[in-house]
Amino acid sequence: MKKSVFLGALTVAGLAAAAAAAGTVDDVKARGKLNCGVTTGLVGFAAPDANGEWNGFDVAVCRGVAAAVLGDPAAVEFVPTTGKTRFTALASGEIDMLARNTTWTFSRDVDLKFTFVGVNYYDGQGFMVPKDLGVSSAKELDGATVCIQTGTTTELNLADFFRSNNISYEPVPIETNAEAQQQYLAGACDVYTTDASGLAATRATFEDPAAHVLLPEIISKEPLGPLVRHGDNEWGDVVRWTLNALITAEELGVTSANIGEMAAGTNNPEINRLLGTEGTLGEMLGLDAEWAKRAIMAGGNYGEIFAKNIGEDTPIGLARGLNAQWTEGGLLYSPPFR
């Protein structure tokens, strides 16, 4: 018994050393599967459907990367992570990338040694309360019991907001979104707070969504984006430019419907560079010329992914808002493909 534990520990230690040495791109190619960390289930962002197939806004990023690197959007192993386990999973090499509505902050970037490759959703922290509570502003929440997902930036924002407004509250720390939903609906807490997009997604799954309101205050900036480990810049570039390819495709009007005809060649050189008919961008990235084409074909461009998973026609019903292209007054602004 003792011996087997000991040998096991040695093996783990050995594997950890090996994982740190090789490049992630090569690892993923050799494995034939991308290990992508997602939430344990947040409808619209990442949740398995009735067939066990993962779907959602964050899932689409994983599928895009898998399509770009491996040529198959289905070659993804989705690893559900909680707010607490996600960083350990990424740092230890259990997952290759994390696409789990994770806020880009200074300390996560600098101190935890992660590289945020971009922002796929500009969010802010909001509050949801039952309508019959008669609350119209977060500043009226003095003395309220607040459900909050533990280990998130929202936990710290919440403490700051109530302190700066000189009102008190009682936190109820919760591990997962599903648990929070149960506690909130049972009335064990008056308020549920998390990113406004997450609140909208959670409310959409309620039996009676109209009985709950989102308060107008947005108390923080929450740029959510995919992230990878520090120290493997090639892999970071692959994920970063896959995300940028999805955003640029929308800007340039490349959709999953017209990509076939556009890939035959257009008079717009940037589209040609993006889709690999001109220049050697794919080669520079260590991939083939059609990487971006495959990423876009996996689930459509950024706009299509948004509309399909969390847009206004879905039960979640989020407007583009800050997440519109810069040409339409939003913040999405991909660096040029050149």
Binding site: L10, K84, D111, T145, L156, A186, A188
Partner: protein
């Protein structure tokens, strides 16, 4: 004439390390020890190298930084600007609180169930074996979650107490059972003797300890009298007086009054709140561990030979006295050692608190602080140190007790 001489002293040779049974075991133990040290050193250096490669280091600086988060049950002053160290202390006290409460209730429950399981009454003994088998064969985490879920689902939310015709009302107008916890009246001192509230209660506690010594002395005096004269003087009213008069007088001087919980805004305020997570955890740990203790108690009682019971009965002792005066005192020496491990289990199992959002040390230092600072190794090492210290302390205290009750061999 023969003389017996010592066999010639054989000089030590290196081959004897393997061939001579006197030395062989030492050789292998030394080899095993060296291998173990090498393995640990390898793992440690691997850790250090990987950390260095990732650009990380081991540092406890973060303990001094503000924690930034709030905690719902704090026994000592704490706010979001307090340090991570203070948050850890809050967690430690919460762990100790729930462990202490659960140890007491589990012991009471276990002793009662263990004794009743041996009852001659078929229904009682079967009910108790039912309790034992159900509770110890389902993981404690499941019990914690079941109890917590039932509590939140069955008990009314505070807002059900509002309005002219509320859906729920308070018991005796002073106890509110809500799905966030139970609110009970809290004692208030109108003219305390010390500025710090805690000191007043320490004073009350000291008076109670004094009373307990007083009543012990009284009972010793009564025993001495009984042995001298054969008649035991009636002392129960003196005992009552010793217990109650000093405390009541002290509390009257300090002006004790009760503060009743009342619905204010979103929640009840005033009085004392026993949070739902604490109740769920306390209750689950008690009934789960109580089932194990019941088995220990049963084993202890059955280890006492039947002759003892029969001898005691033939002296004319009633069954209750046989149990209390003859069987249980002897059974204790069998019960105590496994009881120590049950207490350790309670303390360690209390780390499941995170499942219901109870802010114990695993939830504050090992949960939120770890997560917000990313200092996983440091936090986990501290956690290990804490649980080790607490467990060793419990073992130490219980071993002292064990030495007091174990069979005295003279």
């Amino acid at each position: 004439m023969t003389t017996i001489t010592d066999p010639p002293r054989q000089s030590f040779q290196l081959s004897m390390l393997l061939n001579d049974t006197r030395y062989r075991s030492f050789t292998f133990q030394a080899i095993a020890l060296i291998l173990l040290i090498v393995a640990i050193a390898y793992l440690a250096s691997n850790l250090a190298r990987n950390l260095e490669q990732a650009g990380l280091n081991i540092s406890y600086e973060f303990l001094r930084n503000p924690a930034g988060y709030d905690i719902n049950q704090t026994l000592i002053p704490y706010d979001s600007q307090s340090s991570n160290l203070q948050a850890a202390w809050v967690g430690i006290l919460n762990t100790l609180l729930v462990a202490f409460l659960a140890c007491i209730t589990a012991t009471v429950l276990g002793v009662v169930a263990g004794v009743l399981r041996l009852s001659n009454n078929w229904l009682v003994s079967k009910l108790m074996s039912f309790y034992v088998e159900i509770f110890r064969n389902i993981p404690v985490l499941i019990w914690i979650i079941i109890i917590f879920t039932i509590m939140t689902a069955v008990l009314p939310a505070p807002r059900a107490f509002r309005g002219d015709e509320p859906a729920a009302s308070m018991l005796f107008g002073s106890f509110a059972f809500t799905n966030r916890g139970i609110y009970i009246p809290g004692p208030q001192l109108a003219n305390p003797l010390f500025a710090a509230t805690a000191l007043n209660w320490v004073l009350v506690l000291l008076v109670l300890v004094g009373s307990s010594f007083g009543s012990r002395a009284l009972s010793r005096w009564a025993t001495a009298k009984q042995e001298a004269t054969g008649l035991r003087p009636t002392t129960w009213y003196w005992t009552l007086a010793i217990w109650f008069v000093p405390v009541v007088v002290l509390l009257a001087i300090m002006g004790l009054s009760w503060e009743y919980p009342a619905l204010k805004g979103f929640n009840f305020s005033g009085g004392i709140k026993i949070g739902g997570p604490l109740i769920a955890l306390w209750f689950a740990l008690s009934v789960y561990t109580g089932a194990f203790i019941a088995e220990n108690v049963r084993a202890g009682i059955q280890a006492i030979s039947k002759g003892q019971t029969e001898a005691a009965a033939s002296l004319g002792l009633r069954p209750g006295r046989v149990m209390n005066l003859v069987v249980l005192p002897q059974a204790l020496r069998v019960i105590i050692p496994p009881l120590i491990s049950q207490y350790l289990n309670i303390t360690k199992n209390s780390s499941l608190a995170i499942a219901v959002g109870y802010a114990d040390i695993t939830a504050t230092l090992g949960g939120i602080t770890l997560n917000q600072t990313g200092r996983a190794i440091e936090c986990v090492l501290l956690l290990m140190l804490f649980y080790l210290t607490i467990s060793l302390a419990i073992s130490f205290v219980m071993n002292i007790y064990n030495n007091a009750v174990k069979l005295k061999e003279r």
